[in-house]
């Protein structure tokens, strides 16, 4: 029932799309209609599945590695003033660099295979995860810290039993953002240089004027991202303090 509005929106978008195609009579290599895209999708389903698997693996590894790296960095930053002074400005700077500019370099360093795409995904989600979790760790309600102090708590215990649990809702929102960003990172990596993956397939189809196949790949990527987002949202619900 909860997905009914989303379904309605999808149907509406398809209808608009089909109307535009029918009214303008654009050639199908410019704008293929939804029916044609669906047909192509079905015909090329094994091809698309193979490339989806590649992109999926890149995204999942990237998401796990980026999240782990972000979590560790946030904890390090929150516990060490030295780390804050040395690392924080650098973190902001890396975020200021467009990932597009880094993609060729990563491909040069890590090759055309899986790892340059994983690195792109990691790079793009590292900052949102780190920064949201770090913010949460630095904003522990001061009353909790007062209480812990009067209880003669060690700073280690305060970190693990109070600051980290209090920051989990922030981490959850960082991870949810990461789930949306990670596929973007992987696809950018594939555009720059790859022989597999949905990004590669889109580029290939576009180059050969197989616009219908490009649309099919693109929509598959969209669905993959949405599914990932839903999965991460569900998985982080207890962290965010929802459905308790």
């Amino acid at each position: 029932m909860r997905y009914l509005p989303a379904l309605a929106a999808a149907v509406f978008a398809m209808a608009v799309w089909q109307t535009v195609v029918s009214l303008t009579d654009l050639p199908k290599f410019i704008l293929p209609g939804p029916m044609l895209v669906a047909e192509t999708w079905w015909k090329s389903r094994w091809l698309i599945a193979e490339h989806t698997l590649t992109t999926g693996i890149e995204v999942l590894i990237g998401l796990a590695a980026g999240a782990a790296l972000g979590i560790l960095t946030a904890i390090q930053l929150a516990t060490s003033r030295m780390a804050r002074v040395l690392v924080q400005p650098m973190l902001v700077f890396t975020q200021a660099l467009p990932v597009f500019a880094l993609a060729p370099i990563l491909t040069l360093w890590l090759g055309y295979g899986l790892w340059s795409k994983v690195a792109m995904a990691v790079l793009i989600i590292y900052f949102p995860v780190t920064s949201s979790f770090f913010d949460g760790l630095m904003r522990t309600p001061p009353g909790y810290l007062d209480l812990a102090r009067t209880m003669q708590a060690t700073s280690r215990a305060v970190l693990w039993q109070i600051r980290v649990p209090a920051a989990l809702p922030n981490l959850a929102s960082g991870l949810r953002l990461a789930a949306v960003y990670a596929p973007i990172g992987a696809v950018i990596g594939e555009w720059v240089g790859a022989s597999k993956g949905l990004g590669y397939l889109m580029l290939l189809a576009n180059g050969r004027a197989k616009t219908d196949l490009m649309f099919a790949a693109m929509l598959t990527l969209g669905v993959l991202s949405v599914l990932l987002h839903i999965a991460v949202r569900k998985a982080t619900a207890p962290m965010a303090g929802e459905a308790r």
Binding site: L147, R149, T150, R244
Partner: protein, 242 residues
């Protein structure tokens, strides 16, 4: 529990270039309730926070001493207006927080006894969000008692509760904290009149000692002497002659 000491607080607090409160001398009688009454912003919470060894915006110039000369910090337990219950932890986990934060094993027998005394045995596994305001404050009281410290610092712990619950909590606290040196910071003259073995009104210029009613605490809310004390405390707070 170790014997409760008497505590002497002597000093002033400076805030920026000005003075938060003038030099004052406050003594907490051993094993008794001392009520520090005052309006907002006079620095009464600062006095309590200084005793608790907590950070304040003010700079303290003075001394805080226990009558036996030993260090105060490991002997205090603190309770605030906000119950400060961790929302992700159960009632039991909240009550045993101190032990968990020090890496000690909580005393299960003591926990069980305390849960019974604050009437929360049936709620032991619940999360704070499932409890009422009064129940939450009883958990906070149990957590304070679980620490088994001889000095208890209470920073308006009952002021957010409704009138009935507040009266109940006051009685429960007096019963459970008997024999400990208690500082209660409050803005409620009625609360000070009910609970104080010693009552002080704090103003920027200093402390005024007010004689408490002679009856035993917790005093009845309709006790005439208590009501008279409450009225004179209120007059004092409003700057009228007592």
């Amino acid at each position: 529990m170790k014997p409760a000491p008497e505590i002497t607080f002597v000093g002033q607090a400076l805030l920026g270039s000005g003075q938060l409160f003038a030099p004052l001398s406050l003594t907490l009688l051993a094993g008794r309730w001392t009520c520090l009454l005052g309006g907002s912003g006079v620095g009464k919470s600062t006095v309590l926070r200084l005793m608790a060894g907590l950070q304040t915006d003010a700079v303290f110039d003075g001394t805080i001493r226990a009558s036996d000369g030993a260090d105060l910090a490991p002997r205090i337990s603190y309770m605030a207006q906000d119950d400060l219950l961790l929302p992700w932890a159960t009632v039991t986990q909240n009550i045993t927080l101190g032990a968990r934060l020090r890496g000690e094993k909580p005393d299960q027998a003591r926990l069980k006894r305390l849960l019974e005394r604050v009437r929360l045995t049936d709620h032991a596994q619940k999360k704070p969000a499932q409890l009422s305001g009064g129940q939450r404050q009883r958990v906070a009281l149990a957590r304070t008692l679980m620490e088994d410290k001889p000095v208890i610092l209470l920073d308006e712990p009952f002021s957010a509760l409704d009138a009935q619950t507040r009266a109940e909590m006051q009685e429960l606290a007096v019963e459970l904290l008997a024999g400990r040196t208690v500082l209660l910071v409050t803005h409620d003259p009625g609360e000070a009149a009910r609970l104080g073995h010693a009552i002080m009104v704090m103003e920027q210029s200093g402390l005024t000692h007010c004689p408490p009613p002679e009856t035993e605490v917790p005093r009845q809310v309709d006790d005439l002497e208590t009501l008279a004390a409450q009225a004179s405390l209120l007059r004092l707070l409003r700057g009228e002659a007592a």
